[in-house]
């Protein structure tokens, strides 16, 4: 646990030192496949994964609600 938090902090420090990419240079970054969030229809997969696995969260999606009882 402590190791993971430490790695997270190191990563955040590393990220803060990056150079800025201008808007007109973001043609690759704006590609739909480069989205940092899930696609809309991946929500169904996330739902059954939350039900059939003990862990959930940390993916920008829903983190509670629903019983997952079936």
């Amino acid at each position: 646990m402590k190791k993971n938090i430490f790695l997270l902090i190191i990563l955040m420090v590393f990220l803060s030192s990056c150079v800025a990419v201008k808007e007109y240079q973001k043609v690759y970054l704006n590609d739909p496949d480069m989205k940092l969030s899930s696609q809309e229809n991946e929500r169904f997969e996330s739902t059954f994964q939350v039900y059939r696995e003990g862990a959930s969260g940390a993916n920008g999606g829903k983190t509670g609600g629903g019983c997952g009882c079936n």
């Binding site: 059954f48 003990g54 983190t63 509670g64 019983c67």
Partner: protein
């Protein structure tokens, strides 16, 4: 405070009207300002569908053994409406219909289809929800899973088995959900805030949620930091396994009353017991039925160079209330076994060859009333070249029930042409078991907490997916004023190391309202 689905729906509609009204006044103010690009140019409509099917051999309703056959069909519509240059309202409505062998066995007792049938209905007796099933044929006929033989014909004798679905009233259900989200972006688009409200309703469970989010962009929009808070105030309907519900209804002497009146209870040797020996003293009915979830999610993203970006996710989640499921059976290893059904099937009880006997529960799943979860994840996307993109995701999960888990996901979108993309994916997940898990008949009655739900056991899962995407930025294909923007079709196969497997097919179609570009 009790809120019905219809009253919550009215509340959501009221929110939409208020937001629309606000947008009208905002547009008047905007007209005096310089032109700025809209956050969302036109109304977008997403139509989503999914077909899901699973099977397994560790049903928690049967205490950790038996069929987990389940099929689910879901349809959802998401409408995103630009209220003005800065504000977007999103309405998300869905319905899901499922058939579940596992939950059908809340009442597993059936009379063979050659016996007279009675209609099924749910009703409330002394505040306890109960199905109309009875020994006189309440279970109706028998649903037979593919690959399993038909139960023996013994008209008039109630039987059951963990290895078949019964036609209990909970065999098929619907889940309805509705949510709205309102978001506002600042003039320079570097600050975004939003709020949401949601409701969902199914027979056993109701959920009401609300929350807000704030996102700040820095460094020419190369850096993004955000926080999101969500609250879910959920309610269970306390539905118990049939034999335990009868104890609650009739108290002492329940073994000869109600459902059990005239029904033979067998011991391990198959002998009919004449005393009230079957007495599940470990069964403690719920005194409350709420489940509240509070989550605080932090995220940050950073563009590293023209081809590479990364996002970090960190959640703090607290759940309180009834975190167990009221119809998950528990069988204790230090209690004698009792059955209803055909005596000759008792020696084969844990085998799928058992088609005629069902073991009576000792208790229901019992878990702590609080759970604290800390998941943290990182997503990294790299644009390799004009053909390939590499998407990756890793998550570590920790909670105070003793569960530790990690997830790795890799996607490799391959651009076949300007419009078509093929995306193979692989996902691996691994977890240990929670402190309170034990397989069928391994818990003892002196334990405080116990569950035989294999979703909380030790296992790993693998998921293989293939998606085909079509995108048309010019929205050439049109239906009325709506232009087709994209189609995504995805198939996934899921294997869990305890034998559960699932398949899911999803389809997403996005339309944009407005003139052809």
């Amino acid at each position: 405070m009790q809120l019905s689905f219809s009253s919550l729906t009215s509340l959501l509609i009221l929110c939409c009207i208020c937001a629309t009204f606000q947008s009208g006044s905002a547009q008047i103010i905007d007209s005096s300002k310089v032109y700025k690009k809209k956050v969302l140019e036109n109304t977008e409509i997403d139509l989503l569908m999914s077909l899901y099917k699973q099977d397994g051999i560790h049903s928690p309703v049967n205490g950790g053994i038996g069929t987990e056959n389940l099929a689910d069909q879901t349809a959802t519509i998401i409408v995103s409406i630009p209220l003005n240059a800065d504000d977007v309202l999103t309405v998300d409505a869905g319905i899901s219909a499922y058939t579940s062998a596992s939950s059908s066995n809340i009442n597993p007792f059936m009379v063979n289809s050659s016996a007279p049938l009675k209609s099924l209905s749910w009703s409330k007796i002394n505040g306890i929800i109960t199905s109309g099933a009875s020994k006189g044929g309440g279970g109706g006929g028998v649903v037979v899973n593919p690959g399993y033989p038909v139960p023996p014909a013994t008209p008039g004798i109630p039987t059951g088995t963990p290895w078949l679905a019964s036609t209990g009233a909970s065999h098929s259900e619907n889940l309805k959900n509705l949510s709205t989200n309102y978001s506002h972006s600042s003039d320079d688009r570097n600050l975004i805030w939003g709020s949401n409200i949601s409701i969902s309703d199914e027979f056993t469970y109701k959920s009401f949620g609300f929350g807000g989010n704030l996102t700040k962009l820095y460094n020419d929009k190369n850096t993004e930091i955000g926080v999101k808070g969500l609250v879910f105030l959920d309610k269970w309907r306390s539905i118990y396994p049939t034999e335990l519900k009868e104890k609650l209804l009739y108290g002492s002497g329940f073994q000869t009353s109600g459902y059990f009146s005239g029904v033979n209870i067998l011991d391990q040797t198959g002998t009919i017991i004449t005393s009230n020996s079957y007495n599940p003293t470990g069964f403690v009915p719920w005194t409350s039925n709420g489940r509240d979830s509070y989550s605080l999610s932090f995220f940050g993203s950073q563009i590293l160079n023209k081809r590479f970006q990364v996002a970090l996710f960190f959640d703090l989640v607290l759940q309180q209330g009834m975190l167990s499921t009221p119809y998950h059976r528990i069988y204790f290893s230090d209690k004698p076994r009792y059955y209803i059904g055909i005596a000759s099937d008792i020696p084969n009880y844990t085998s799928p060859t058992n088609l005629g006997v069902y073991q009576l529960a000792d208790a229901i799943e019992t878990l702590p009333h609080s759970r604290f979860k800390i998941p943290m994840g990182v997503r990294m996307n790299y644009y390799l070249n004009e053909t390939f993109v590499l998407r990756s995701y890793y998550r570590y999960y920790y909670d105070n029930w003793g569960l530790r888990a990690y997830t790795v996901n890799l996607d490799l979108p391959v651009k076949l042409s300007q419009s078509f993309t093929l995306t193979p994916s692989y996902r691996f997940y691994s977890q240990n078991q929670v402190d309170y898990f034990g397989p069928y008949e391994t818990h003892v009655s002196t334990e405080k907490y116990f569950t035989s739900d294999y979703d909380l056991s030790k296992f790993y899962t693998q998921q293989y997916s293939l998606a085909l995407g079509y995108a048309d930025v010019f929205t050439q294909f049109r239906i009325g004023s709506l232009g087709l923007k994209s189609i995504n079709l995805k198939y996934s196969h899921f294997d869990r190391s305890d034998g559960l497997n699932a398949d899911i097919m999803t389809l997403g179609v996005k339309f944009v309202d407005g003139e052809k570009k």
